[in-house]
């Protein structure tokens, strides 16, 4: 526990400040360190853009018959950007058909309104993506991690 946090809790226990004030003070005390750690991670800055999308799958067989299996996929972000550009090549007629099918399923999305720059932005925002999935069955444990690095 940091010194600031301890002092704030001490003041709260002595009744010098209210719980709301303590919460605000703790948030204010933690803000600079949070900003520092996010800068160190380099996420969201133009300088340290992630280069790869990583997918890691760890599967463990509790029965011990097959042993653990590890899958590690590293996809360059450049490949994602190039792949997204394939969307430019989809004919308008096909997009309209897809729109119709999605409307029938109750998904009100107009694909013709998605512009190439929107897709570029989408890939840019993937840098903040992090997905962790842990699944435990009776005899198997599967961990999936998707992140950018």
């Amino acid at each position: 526990m940091s010194e600031h946090r301890r002092q704030i809790l001490q003041m709260l226990s002595e009744g010098k400040i209210s719980a709301d004030e303590a919460e605000r003070l703790i948030a204010a005390a933690e803000e600079p360190s949070a900003a520092k750690s996010s800068d160190a991670g380099g996420r969201g800055t133009g300088k340290d853009r992630p280069k790869y999308l990583r997918v890691q799958v760890d599967s463990e067989d509790g029965g011990g018959h097959d042993g653990p299996t590890k899958v590690n996929v590293r996809v360059p972000m450049r490949l994602l950007r190039a792949g997204v550009k394939l969307a430019y090549l989809i004919p308008t007629a096909a997009l309209q058909k897809a729109n119709l099918a999605m409307h029938e399923k109750g998904i009100p999305v107009d694909l013709t309104q998605i512009k190439p720059e929107n897709l570029e932005d989408l890939v840019e925002q993937l840098s903040d993506l992090s997905v962790d999935v842990d699944q435990k069955d009776s005899d198997t444990t599967v961990k999936v991690r998707v992140f950018c690095e």
């Binding site: 280069k51 790869y52 097959d66 042993g67 653990p68 299996t69 590890k70 899958v71 590690n72 996929v73 590293r74 996809v75 360059p76 450049r78 490949l79 950007r81 190039a82 792949g83 550009k85 394939l86 430019y88 090549l89 004919p91 308008t92 007629a93």
Partner: protein
């Protein structure tokens, strides 16, 4: 730059590793005449679908270029496989 080599590593139960270097440049060279022969048909198909063929070629070229550094590893107690495009 398009990738020139793919490295495939295979490991068996006795931890013996076989590494195979696949010269992709040869595959590209072999594919080149096929693409040249098929290019009029690809061009026509693009026109039928109302897709700019030059843009299509540019996108496919960019995808080929971006393949470098793609990696896939699968590890298991009894065997392992790694595929890396260099």
């Amino acid at each position: 730059m398009i990738p020139f080599v793919a490295v495939v590593s295979l490991r068996n139960e006795e931890s013996r590793t076989f590494r195979l270097w696949i010269p992709l440049v040869l595959i590209w060279l072999l594919m080149l005449p096929v693409v040249v022969v098929l290019s009029p048909f690809i061009f026509l198909a693009c026109l039928c679908c109302r897709v700019n063929p030059f843009r299509g070629v540019a996108v496919v070229w960019q995808i080929f270029n971006a393949l470098t550094d793609t990696q896939l590893d699968v590890e298991h107690r009894s065997a392992g496989m790694s595929f890396h495009i260099v």
